[in-house]
Every structure is written in C-alpha cells, then in structure tokens.
C-alpha cells in the first residue's frame, strides 16, 4: 500500500499556444482534506480535468494507490472512485434529485429502472447530509447550496474515494459554507480524500491540513496549513510581495453627493435610507439575500421602486432606467460581470466605450478612431493584461475582466460609483489592484458605494459601513468602531430577533 492515495508526477498539458500545466506534481494522502490554491489561470481547473479524465496530459504519470493508471475518459475516473463537484453545478435542472444522483449509474433490474429503490437510497444519502429537501424535489427549484448537496450525494452514491470540490463556497452564504464544511469533514471521516479548491483563505484554514499552490501553470509547493501564514501563501500564489492588501488612502471627505430616503420596493427592501459623500467609500454589507443588490439596482434604474426619494447634490432626482442614472452621474459595476457587465464576444475596446458611444461620436454617429483612443487610455489606466484593445473580453481572466468593467464605468462622467461585489471570483493579485483603483477614485472625488460580503475587504477599504438585513438597514458603523462581530450582529439582527420570539 502506498503512502498516497493519489499521486501525480510531472504532468504537462498543452493547449494550442499555451502550456496549461508545466511538469506539475501533486500528492494526496488517504483521508486528508487538501487545499489547492492559486490565482485564476494558474492551471487548477485544467489539473482537475486531468485527474477526472476530461483532459489527457501530454506528459507525466498518475498513480492511484501506488498503481499507475491511464484514464481514457471521465468514465474511467468515475469507475476508479474519483468524483468532482464544480462551482457551477452541471445538473439537469428539470429532473428530480434522484434522477440527478443516479444519472449514468441507475439501478436496473432486467433493464427496468428501480425507482423505489433509488428514491429510498437517495433519501438516505440526503438524510446523512442533513439536507432539508426530499429526493423527489426538482433540481432547478433548489438553491446552489442544495444543488451542491445533490452532487455530493451523487459522489457518495458512486462510492467515490477521492472527491474534488472546485470553488464550492464561491456562491454560498456564510451559514451554507459552514454546513458544507461539516459535510466535507464527514466525508473525510468516512474515509474519503478531498481536494478542495478555493480563493478563500478561511476555507483553507477551516478545513485543510495541507495546501498545494500552483502559479503560472507550475507547481510551487505543498505546505502544512498549521505552519503557513497569509503572507507566505500570497507570496507563493502571486510570486511577489503584496505589502498592503488594502491601500486605503486618507481622503478629505467632502459634501454629501447621493442620499436615498425611505426607498422601498415591496418584497425586496423597505425604508432604506443612507447617504454617501464626496471622496467617501461607503460599504454596504449584510448576508446574501439582505436586499443589497436589489437596492443598488433600484438606485441605478434597473428595477423600479414603489416609494422613497433620491437626492443628488441636494436636488431630488428620478431614475427610471440605467440611461437616466448614467446621465445624472450614477454608475454601477454589476454583480455578475460576465452576464451584466460585459459582452464577452466583443473586444475590450468596444466594451469599454459602449456606454459612451454617443458622447464620443457626434450627431448619433460612431467615431471609431476616438473610441479606440478612449479605450486605450482607460484600458491602460486600469492596467489590464490585454495586448490589444481588440482582444475578446472572454479571453481575459476574471480579475482582468473586472478591470475592463471598471474601465467601462470610468468612461462615463460620473459622480457616484456603485460597485457590487467588485472582487468576487477575482484572484489575490488582481484584488489588490482593484482596491488600489478604488482608493484612487476616492481621492479623485468620486463618491463610492461598495457592496461586499467579505469582511476583511469591508474593514480594510471603507470609511463607513451600512449593514442590511432582510431588506432593512439595521445598523451604521464608522470605520473606527467597526469590527467583524459588530457587523455580523447587525447583519443577523432581524433573524436573531425572530428566533427569540
């Protein structure tokens, strides 16, 4: 018996024009939770696909329990007991939970599907996972966290010994993440080995005993989680020192720019009031589902409000659509950059200028030359890693895509910039750069509202914090008095009250 349940040596994978993996090694001990970290584009996903047999490596060897294996396809990997759970669940939304769990390995007797048996088994898995839904539920009706549970149940049903989780917590709330941690530990205690990919350091500290870091398609090293610091990890992942993760400049805060008063959208949020001043970064936080995104979407005119007032520089304004908002100087960096922020098929230049084509051109005509100049200027200002402004937005990594959306906002003549989860799915290096741009914008006198669920980011970057819970503002804190506990108390204010009653 080998020391490792899974071992990869010298794996090289080449895609046309790029080396996605360059002589990468990896070792997984039986019954351990092993974190795999690295920036976007470091090769983690490709590596996972090599293990699960989706991709075939050009070079290198893979050993399972010390025996050399050569997977011809995903089926081989499945048979060998390897299962992967992806961030974006690849399920059949219109089928039931049972059908999803047993897809591809249904229980049959003489060619006839044994539904009763499968439902019973599925329910027993779900019970084991403390799931709050039944095997007959429709997959599409479940939350992301619940869908992940189904995927985990599927892994259990296939008797997987090696379970790979690719950024499973990215779309989960704090409570859901906690539940996932418990399930993961349960899987480990049941004898499975887990590879856990995540951008969140908390995930790693909470779960893993060892961590392996990839950078630029290469293996950097494996470390014991106990003996490693944040700074060490960042250096390993980014390849350079990030001296100050949150470069918040001291800015003289000016007069009030935007004020919302008792803004209400029935069913989403109620009587929301806050204001933001020139040069100020206002943090808007709370748990997922607190109504933060809905609030800023309403301010931006994507959604309509039922009552309430908005004032810009002291004058009342009405915003019926994003065009109104932009004209009056309010811009939004939307939460979902791939669907709301960018046209992925287009070059980054056209993306950057889209909002302002009319003002760059004349008399309703487009002006290609002026657009190219503007796009170049802004793309350079946010320091995106693109080579030309004609590079497709889809060709960039998450962090660089986000910078393009920032550049797009900067194209407009704005007073208020709203950023909805600006660093979601963005790797450490690009995160620091986005914070730096935020700081510069505050210095230049923009009023900034940042929605974020990440506590370190809120505590590190903002001047003032407004906390929402279940559609209401439950608290407001100055930077100096804010602490993780005090924010969380406000974020859960209403639910704890409800629990008491």
């Amino acid at each position: 018996m080998s020391e490792y349940v899974l071992e990869l040596k010298g794996i090289t994978k080449i895609f046309p024009g790029v080396k996605a993996l360059d002589r990468v090694s990896f070792q997984l001990k039986p019954g351990e939770i092993h974190a795999l970290m690295g920036e976007n584009g470091a090769g983690k996903s490709t590596f996972i696909k090599v293990i699960t047999g989706v991709h075939k490596a050009e070079e290198g060897e893979m050993y399972l329990d010390g025996k050399k294996v050569d997977f011809k396809g995903p089926k081989d990997a499945q048979k060998a007991g390897i299962a992967a759970i992806y961030q974006h669940v690849t399920a059949y939304p219109h089928l039931s939970v049972t059908e999803n769990i047993f897809m591809g390995h249904e229980i049959k007797k003489r060619g006839i599907l044994q539904w009763k048996e499968m439902h019973a088994l599925a329910d027993s898995y779900l019970e084991e996972l403390n799931a709050d839904f039944k095997s007959t539920a429709e997959m599409g009706a479940l939350s992301v966290a619940q869908q992940q549970m189904v995927e985990i149940a599927k892994a259990i049903s296939m008797k997987a010994r090696i379970i790979i989780m690719d950024e499973p917590t990215a779309a989960l709330t704090k409570n859901e993440s906690e539940q996932l941690y418990k399930i993961t530990e349960k899987l480990r205690d049941g004898g499975a080995s887990v590879i856990f990919i995540s951008h969140r350091f908390e995930d790693m500290y909470r779960l893993a005993t060892r961590v392996t870091v990839f950078r630029d398609s290469q293996y950097i090293g494996s470390y014991d989680v106990d003996g490693i610091t944040n700074a060490d990890l960042i250096r390993a992942m980014v390849g350079r020192e990030i001296s100050d993760m949150y470069p918040k400049p001291e800015v003289k805060i000016g007069e009030e720019v935007l004020r919302v008063e008792k803004l209400t959208r029935t069913g989403y949020f109620k009587d929301v009031s806050f204001s933001v001043r020139k040069g100020e970064i206002l943090g808007l936080t709370g748990l997922v589902g607190a109504g933060r995104t809905e609030t800023v979407q309403t301010i931006y005119g994507v959604e309509h409000y039922d009552s309430g007032k908005m004032y810009l520089n002291g004058e009342e304004i009405t915003v019926k659509n994003p065009a109104d908002a932009l004209r009056q100087g309010i811009g939004l960096l939307p939460e979902d950059r791939q669907h709301q922020g960018l046209i992925l098929d287009w070059g980054i230049g056209r993306n950057i200028t889209l909002t302002e084509i009319a003002s760059i051109g004349k008399n309703g005509l487009t002006d290609d030359k002026a657009e190219r100049e503007k796009a170049k200027e802004l793309a350079e200002r946010v320091d995106t890693k693109a080579v030309t402004i004609f590079d497709k937005a889809s060709s960039l990594s998450g962090g660089n895509q986000q910078k393009i959306v920032v550049a797009k906002i900067l194209a407009s003549n704005l007073k208020v910039i709203i950023l909805d989860e600006p660093t979601k799915g963005v790797d450490v290096g690009a995160k620091a750069e986005i914070y730096e741009i935020m700081g510069e914008l505050a210095q230049q006198g923009y009023a900034i509202i940042m929605i974020s669920s990440e506590m370190p980011e809120i505590l590190g970057m903002v001047d003032r914090i407004v906390v929402m819970c279940e559609g209401k503002v439950t608290g407001e804190l100055q930077r100096e008095e804010a602490e993780q506990e005090s924010i969380l108390k406000f974020a859960m204010a209403r639910s704890s009250k409800a629990a008491k009653n």
Binding site: N321, A325, L332, L354, I357, T366, A375, E380, T388
Partner: protein, 335 residues
C-alpha cells in the same frame, strides 16, 4: 500614456490578408459569380447590361423586407409575420382604391397599415418581454392574414395598373435602370449606414450580443426593439406597394412565405438567429444570389416547386460550410 507597469496596449488594428480573405462574404462573392456564370450559359442575352438590370425586377420587391429583417436578427429576435403584414397592407391599398380613394392616399394608407402591424408586434413584445418573438409573430401572422381574408374573401381587387405612376413604381425605368432597383439601392445604403456607422446600429449589435449587459450599459433595449419591429412593418408595406404595382391587383393569399425568404436571405448573408452578427455587404450579396438563382432557374423553365428544393439546399449547404471547416480543423488537430 502607459500602464503603471509601463506597458502600452495596442489600439491600431493590423491589417491581415489572411483574415481579410477568410471573411464569410468571399464565399458569397464566389457563389454570386458562379450563379451568374451559370445564368450566362443558359441565356445568351443574360450578360447584357440591360438584361441584368431587368433580371433584378424579378425578385427585388421581397428584398425590401429583408433589410429590416436583418436588424431583427441582429437583435436576436425574429419576425415571421411580415408576409401577412405585406398582404394586409396590399389588401388595404386595393380596398381603399376601389372605394374611390386617390392612389397617393392609398399608398400612404398601405404604409400606415404595415407600420401599425409592426407596432402591434413591437408593443406586445416590449410590454410582455418574456414572450418568445417566434410565437407572438406566429400569432400575428395568422391574425393579419385572417383580417385580409375577412376583407376580400376569395375575390381579387384590381384596376391598380390604370394609375400610370403607380404601376411605374415597378415597371418604370430611369434611363435603363428600373425604378425599383434605384429605390432598393437607396434603402439598402441607408440601412447599411445606420447599422454600421451610427450609435443606433452599435446598440443593435450590443443588444443581440448580450441583452442584459446592454441594458446595464444604459441602452433602452425595449425602446429600440419597438422601433425595429415597427420599422419592419413599414418595410413589409413597402414590399406590398411594389407587389401591388407589379400585379395590378391584390388577393388575400399574396406574399405567402415572404417572411421565410427574407429570413433565408439574411441568414445566408451571415446574420445569425442568435443575434449580434452579420453585416450589410453580406446581406446584399445574399439577396442577389437567391434572386439571380431563381431568375436563372426560371430561364430554363424549372418548375417553381423544384426551385424551392434548390434554394433550400443552397441555404443549408452554405450555412453549414463554416462549421464543416472548423470540424475539419479539429479533426486535423486530433490526428
């Protein structure tokens, strides 16, 4: 200016012959030349200047509705009611003329009818954005045709050719150039200019490529869809005017299948039903390919049913070609 890390980002597009010649339109150019060579072999009179110009009269009236149809496809929408809209508009024209309304007013009524039909589509689709355009315009297709049939039944309304200027719209010429061809050239040029050189055109592409991102970028998506659907109705009526001028009479069963021909021309020209793709040089080439092919097949007396077989096959093979090319590429790589 450069980035903080000292790099510059290139903003000039390098011209590449390879990319230039790999454009879809070259395939259409080759097809166009091929079809003309075929036609020239079929008729010794074909390649005379006047013969070519006259040939355009055999198909161009349908092409007017292909112009806004291209916009609809760029938006990622579809409108299959244009044939019925053209029919209803033509029926209104003849109906009013037979009631004694002067022809000038009849033409305006016709255009107004088409515009209203288009606006009905637009209103439904922009007020109830979750409805599929295919379904809504299928409904109005049946509805508009139904109104036309209720008005005329099996009868034909005619006598339109007694008005000289009206019938000249189709049959008349300026020098040797047919008036309809001139009208088409002007309309196509305007449509091409608007799509490729104006902010409105860019916004059409943005909506087709990503409706949500377009909305977040401050584009009034529904307002633009409303304009384009209405415009499509208007141009269906333009088609109706030329059709009525050609035939001198109308019936409730004219212009059937025009929607599919317009869509076929646009798709062949490189406009995808997924939206966000295509350009006008391609569309104009495709219009002339389909038209000249029909004309040529007409020269050798191929029955119209068989003509449909040829045109259908042509459409399928041409739109498949890019896919076949990439399939071959992938297989080469795998080997």
């Amino acid at each position: 200016m450069a980035t903080k890390s000292g790099r510059t980002i290139i903003a000039e597009q390098k011209f590449s012959w390879k990319i230039f010649f790999l454009k879809w339109e070259w395939l259409l150019v080759i097809l166009f030349i091929g079809i003309n060579l075929m036609n020239a072999n079929l008729s010794q009179y074909y390649l005379s200047g006047e013969g070519l110009l006259n040939a355009t009269n055999s198909f161009l009236e349908k092409a007017f509705v292909a112009l806004p149809m291209a916009y609809i496809l760029v938006l990622g929408d579809i409108d299959i009611s244009v044939g019925s809209t053209a029919c209803l508009s033509a029926v209104m024209l003849a109906y009013c003329y037979n009631l004694g309304v002067p022809m000038g007013a009849c033409v305006l009524i016709c255009l107004l009818t088409g515009t209203i039909c288009g606006a009905v589509n637009g209103l439904i689709l922009t007020r109830f954005t979750e409805l599929a355009p295919m379904i809504v315009t299928l409904g109005t297709q049946i509805l508009f045709r139904g109104i036309a049939e209720a008005m005329l039944g099996d009868e034909a309304r005619g006598g339109l050719s007694t008005v000289k200027w009206f019938s000249d719209l189709y049959w008349g010429k300026l020098g040797i150039v047919p008036i309809m061809l001139l009208c088409f050239i002007i309309c196509a040029a305007v449509f091409a200019f608007v799509l490729h050189k104006t902010c409105f055109g860019r916004r059409l592409y943005a909506i087709g490529a990503n409706k949500l991102a377009a909305e977040y970028a401050g584009i009034k998506v529904q307002q633009i869809r409303m304009i384009v659907f209405t415009l499509t109705g208007t141009f269906a009526a333009v088609t109706a005017v030329f059709l009525a001028a050609r035939m001198g009479s109308t019936r409730a069963d004219i212009a059937t299948g025009y929607e599919m021909e317009a869509i076929a021309m646009a798709v062949l020209g490189g406009f995808s039903t997924d939206g966000g793709k295509g350009n006008f040089p391609g569309l104009v080439l495709a219009i002339f390919i389909v038209g000249m092919l029909r004309y040529g097949l007409g020269l050798i007396n191929i029955p119209s049913q068989l003509m449909l077989v040829v045109i259908g096959a042509l459409l399928i093979v041409t739109v498949m070609l890019p896919n076949i090319r990439s399939m071959v590429k992938i297989q080469k790589k795998a080997a």
